[in-house]
Amino acid sequence: GQQVMQIPQYQHVQEGEDFTTYCNSSTTLSNIQWYKQRPGGHPVFLIQLVKSGEVKKQKRLTFQFGEAKKNSSLHITATQTTDVGTYFCAGRASGTSYGKLTFGQGTILTVHP
């Protein structure tokens, strides 16, 4: 079955440093979404990417979808303590039902002030 892997599993940064998490799928994706989950909370939708090579920005966050639509990345510039949480990518494999997203295992980000 489809697998979605994220690296790194953990990332510790000093406030102000940059952070990147990478997501790789074993199969071609129709789309990819990113979610943030704060400790004790639920996943919150950040963005969806659909097109090959697509790049989207949200303030300090930059999201990329690979040309082959099998990988994606999230980059945070100048991290802040409010960025703490687990970042998940979630992809829908081509040919699967619209509702079925496969999540990665997440990258846990801690930011030291």
């Binding site: 979404q33 996943p43 939708f45 509702g99 997203l101 999540f103």
Partner: protein, 114 residues
């Protein structure tokens, strides 16, 4: 406005008991999803509804798991004869569109089977 509401927030069940978990989606949201999240892992897909139709139940781990959404709004996930490996957070999410984009998750039900 109100988000996705799940109840109970916590449930402790003895092995072998049946449980029912409720999800109230955001009003007007067509699509509804159930995911299972084990500690330290990403959510895993269980099942998906569009209105009252269950379009994909490929993620349900066994025939002990059953989900319904009879009127296209509230949904219930039922687990029969619970086992310890069923212990997890059960997340419900809803989406406005027929072709889902953003999933809006509830706070989940934490099920502990003893």
């Amino acid at each position: 406005g109100a988000g996705v509401s799940q109840s109970p927030r916590y449930k402790v069940a003895k092995r072998g008991q049946d449980v029912a978990l409720r999800c109230d989606p955001i009003s007007g949201h067509v699509s509804l999803f159930w995911y299972q999240q084990a500690l330290g892992q990403g959510p895993e897909f269980l099942t998906y509804f569009q209105n009252e139709a269950q379009l994909d139940k490929s993620g349900l781990p066994s025939d002990r798991f059953f989900a319904e959404r009879p009127e296209g709004s509230v949904s219930t996930l039922k687990i029969q004869r619970t086992q310890q490996e069923d212990s997890a957070v059960y997340l419900c999410a809803s989406s406005l569109a027929l072709r889902p984009e953003a999933l809006h998750f509830g706070n989940g039900t934490r099920l502990t089977v003893t």
